[in-house]
Subunit: 401 residues, 2 copies
Amino acid sequence: MAGDQKDQSRRVLLTGIRKAGRIARVDLAHDTGISAATVTTTTADLINEGLIEETPRSVSEAGQKRGRPRVDLKIRGQAHLVAGMKLSSHSISSVITDFEGMVLAEHDYPMRNIAFSPSDLTDHISQALQQVSAQAGIDQTNLSGLGIGMAGIIDGQNGFAYWSPTLTERNVAIRDMVSTQTGLNVFVDNDANLVAMAEQYFGHGRGISDFLVVTIESGVGMGVVLNNEVYRGARGCGAEFGHTKVHLDGALCRCGQRGCLEAYVADYALLREVSLGTDTIAGQDSAERLQILIDAAKNGDRTAETIINRAGRMFAMGLANLVNIFDPQLIILSGERMQFDFLYADDVIESIRRSTVQVDVPPPEVVIHKWGNMMWAMGAAAYAIEGVSKTAVRKGVEIAS
Amino acid sequence: MAGDQKDQSRRVLLTGIRKAGRIARVDLAHDTGISAATVTTTTADLINEGLIEETPRSVSEAGQKRGRPRVDLKIRGQAHLVAGMKLSSHSISSVITDFEGMVLAEHDYPMRNIAFSPSDLTDHISQALQQVSAQAGIDQTNLSGLGIGMAGIIDGQNGFAYWSPTLTERNVAIRDMVSTQTGLNVFVDNDANLVAMAEQYFGHGRGISDFLVVTIESGVGMGVVLNNEVYRGARGCGAEFGHTKVHLDGALCRCGQRGCLEAYVADYALLREVSLGTDTIAGQDSAERLQILIDAAKNGDRTAETIINRAGRMFAMGLANLVNIFDPQLIILSGERMQFDFLYADDVIESIRRSTVQVDVPPPEVVIHKWGNMMWAMGAAAYAIEGVSKTAVRKGVEIAS
């Protein structure tokens, strides 16, 4: 279908411009492999729609000696405003950015519970949206899109939550519910996929066509970028890592199955073992108890060491399997909590290398990238930017600057 | 780079024609998303180069009432002859096909050993090539390409064997050695990748954009097709499944590591357990001993059952992990040996389903496809056809018909 091809060119060119920041048409054609003629016509469309704009290149920058001044193309920040949200166990982290990804406001909306009914969660999202919009000094009707990242098995294509720890029900058409309530274009995906997108747009993944992001919070998530695209699988629920099995008939997982990676490395998995070894840390919250466990291991407590060591080795085994399967250029280990440092330890990384198929070329680079919920929200904003770019419904909103 | 884009269009169009068999230009444009203008110019080039040809469509077939007769495009079988080879532990299976994949000759070349020095293996390949060429009644200089599939960690891009059970040395530039000796364009890849390509060209994978092929012979192999391309990873050695770990510090594998899937399901893994349980089957060859083990399990021998059951459950666990990670449309279990039927048993397939993340949509289809070495060789021929299509060096060879 010719329409598909045109959409594809638009998308490749927009992404190329976004990645480059500022770029001349001739370089854009070179970088993307799209013909100069198509670059000319497509970028003219994009300028007309207000998604990109021309910007003069200074002579010194261009190193140009004569002829007419060259112009670069750049994303037009004012083209669209979007919101991005990360749903966590007790809060919603939100950002509002312009079309270039410049942050206008950040907001953290606290929630009392971990899981909600679909309508309660929709209400919370709606309130969080109002608050972050107010903080940015805009009306939420000025937003062109809302991206939402949430844990669980999410079909991003349809914004459908097969299962999420944030929801008390299965099979929720969460995108459509939020869209109806807010009146916005809504884009929902698995949160780890959106961390991958954040890395691709703003982080270590820029310019890398194939990489994996593994996230550790209360669960273990994964985002996979192959050939510059987030990989989602046939039913939209691929790239599942936390519930891959690392032990036949192994430890019981929250998901009801046995031997999942999460059942060995997540906080609850560690803490249920602590309760066997010692009862001195009862009564604290889970983060505090986990810290006590880790400190005990550092101080030579044998039981604590035994617990922590196995978690690290199971995590390394799971990562080594990913290296064998994907042979990626780069693995980004991404997590908010300093607590999980023991999973990023040198001996864990070394253990990954020892457990992969041995070939006489360097193994993939492993990068540790710690960041907070706001960067997850930035991934959701990037997803909204991508969604808005595809639909290309220009709302003609201008930011008062 | 505009050249890349042109190559890409050529390749997409050739593949589109190959898949369709016979197809009108207008339908080709529709199916591939390539503009009618590009289809016209590119197919004109391909006709000039002799890679494709026009063929009249009969009126009844086209259902056409008036106007000038429409023509279809098809691959021109006589354009090129290629050879495909599968290197096995004691033989080389070869085919010669035309550019449409029509088989002109099949040949099986026996070898005394399992592993060879690079120069000895090159000699064997060269002799196998002479024999299959003689059988086809052609001179091997009439071949445009030779595709070779071999087990191990192979960088297909560079035809480089990091490690192969068929070679006594590591890091062998096997493509270049065979090319020098035979004077042909040679294309070498991991054999399971080429089974995936055979499924894509000739088998269950036709028209499926994303699928996995898992092969079981003496080892466990995998080929991954994503977005219509065989996935190879950053260093060319991705899609490794047999050496993913299914047990921390588990059974010793031939590769020197512990807990690899192969160390639980390959023939040697089963037979080393047999030697603990009973010595009544010593002195037979491994295929016979394996059959005795399987028969014993069927007849209720407890030790044999214990051995076979664990292999099946470990295999299911590994496959379930692949489903979680890739969420493919289709998994093809492909193997030559009827002996491994126990791994394809209904309870194994059911166990895969129970071990994947539970969502309320149907799981990926699992298809069992048994075939012999000649079909692996066909995959190698398909690889050669693809390689020749890319290089598009027309040798002007015509088959005497």
